[in-house]
Amino acid sequence: MANSNVALRAYRDGLHLIIRPHLSITEVEEAIQEEISRMNQPLGGASVQIDLKGPTLKPEEMAYLKSKLQETYNLKVRGIDTVDEQVPPPIAAAPTTHTLPQRTVPQQPRDTDPSRIIPYTIRSGQIEDFPQGSLVIYGDVNSGGEVRAGGDIVVLGALRGNAHAGLNNRPSAVIIAMELVPVQLQIGSFINRGPMNQKPRGYPEIARVGVEDVIIIEKFVKF
């Protein structure tokens, strides 16, 4: 990963900007710039929680950072927290899930639409379209392939292509894959371009629309 000084993460309560201790303000600025360009996704208007992993910027530097985030990136700082850890891990390398609650999906009832099982891999150029309900793929969705569902999409393999869940403007839909490395995800009317050259993480992940109206991706634990 590009740098480990600053990490921008989407948690269920919104965006977090995690900053390692003992950095200069210029280092923080540069790292933020890099991290935001890496996100590859418009953030304008979102609010962000700053998590400090130890002693770092002076109060006046903090104030400067807040105004800078607002002006340059249109990001509103909604709070600043110091998260003390004995050994600060290199943030980019560490999975972000340790701060997540066990249950990753909101406890609202899932819709009980019909679902369709696709017992094969969706290859490049193939489209599986099921506006009536949810799709379950027993295979992969390869780059150049596309799955579209009115409800949820569950890929029991690698999702490397495009997926659009919640077709009829239903932002409560989710996309789950054993390996989530898509070209592009869409849930309802929200779009998330996959990060470039992402390596599989080795655990299932879930994508859904979070409180800031951005698609967030987390480790999938259970419904």
Partner: protein
């Protein structure tokens, strides 16, 4: 009764023609009767790679238009017994031939040869449907890069839809060194995506270029790594069980050996 195998890829320039020429020659060297068919109407070059361009009188188009008998259109390769070429017309284009006409030709050739190898043009349109119309099996050629792999994936979907089976993969222009330093996908990554059986890995081999220019398929040259790879694939096509040597391991070992040498 032989087998009709279409050699295809989706993307151009990945080694379909090279593979058709070398596998055809290799199978003949193993004693099989083989015809290699150029299905790239309008852009033929299998005849050049085989070094037979000066001997072509009739093409598949002439056979379809009943200008000559199929047997008369087959150009005999004089370097090895049992190998012939059916050339494509250079004057026509791909829409001048119907898939059913290609199928009729393939059916005839199948009854008289052990192997019929069809060199498919790039793309997924008529040229591809013509090339695969009479095929029993397929060999998909890809190089280890994302765009070739995506196109191979597309082609595999179309072949599966057409009920062509088995579909085997040739991974061409593989470079253990590039895999070793992380700048090329390794075979596991490729197979993970394409999910078909690997029939062989052909390394990047500068000998391919010189052999193409001379019109002498690489497999006549025993020592070249590309030649050995094609000979192994040909043996596998005849049903022999030959393990796929781990080129990556060899690459790693070469790297280590070179590292010690350079100290």
């Amino acid at each position: 009764m032989g087998k009709v195998i279409v050699v295809t890829s989706g993307k151009g320039g990945v080694g379909k023609t090279t593979s058709t020429a070398n596998l055809g020659t290799a199978l003949a060297l193993l004693g099989k009767t083989v015809v290699v068919v150029d299905a790239d109407v309008g852009l033929r070059n299998l005849d050049i790679v085989m070094g037979l361009e000066s001997r072509i009188v009739y093409t598949s188009m002439d056979v379809i238009e009943k200008q000559c008998e199929l047997s008369k259109a087959l150009v005999k390769d004089r370097r090895v017994d049992g190998l012939t070429l059916l050339a494509a017309s250079q004057k026509n284009n791909k829409d001048d031939i119907q898939p059913e006409q290609m199928k009729t030709i393939c059916d005839k050739l199948r009854s008289e040869h052990d192997f019929v190898l069809i060199d498919s043009p790039a793309g997924i349109e008529r040229g591809f449907s013509n090339a695969s119309a009479g095929a029993d099996e397929a060999i998909v050629v890809t190089t280890p890069d994302v765009s070739a792999i995506r196109d191979a994936d597309r082609i595999i979907g179309l072949l599966q839809h057409a009920g062509i089976e088995p579909i085997n993969l040739v991974l061409n222009r593989f470079s253990p060194e590039l895999v070793g330093n992380g700048s090329m996908m390794d075979q596991e990554d490729v197979l993970d995506i394409l999910n078909i059986d690997l029939i062989g890995i052909v390394p990047e081999d500068t000998g391919v270029i010189t052999s193409t220019n001379r019109g002498i398929p690489l497999v006549y040259e025993d020592a070249s790594p590309g030649s050995q790879a094609y000979m192994r694939i040909a043996r596998r096509l005849t049903g022999q069980r030959i393990p796929i040597p781990d080129l990556e391991q060899k690459g790693l070992l070469t790297n280590i050996v070179n590292w010690f040498r350079n100290r």
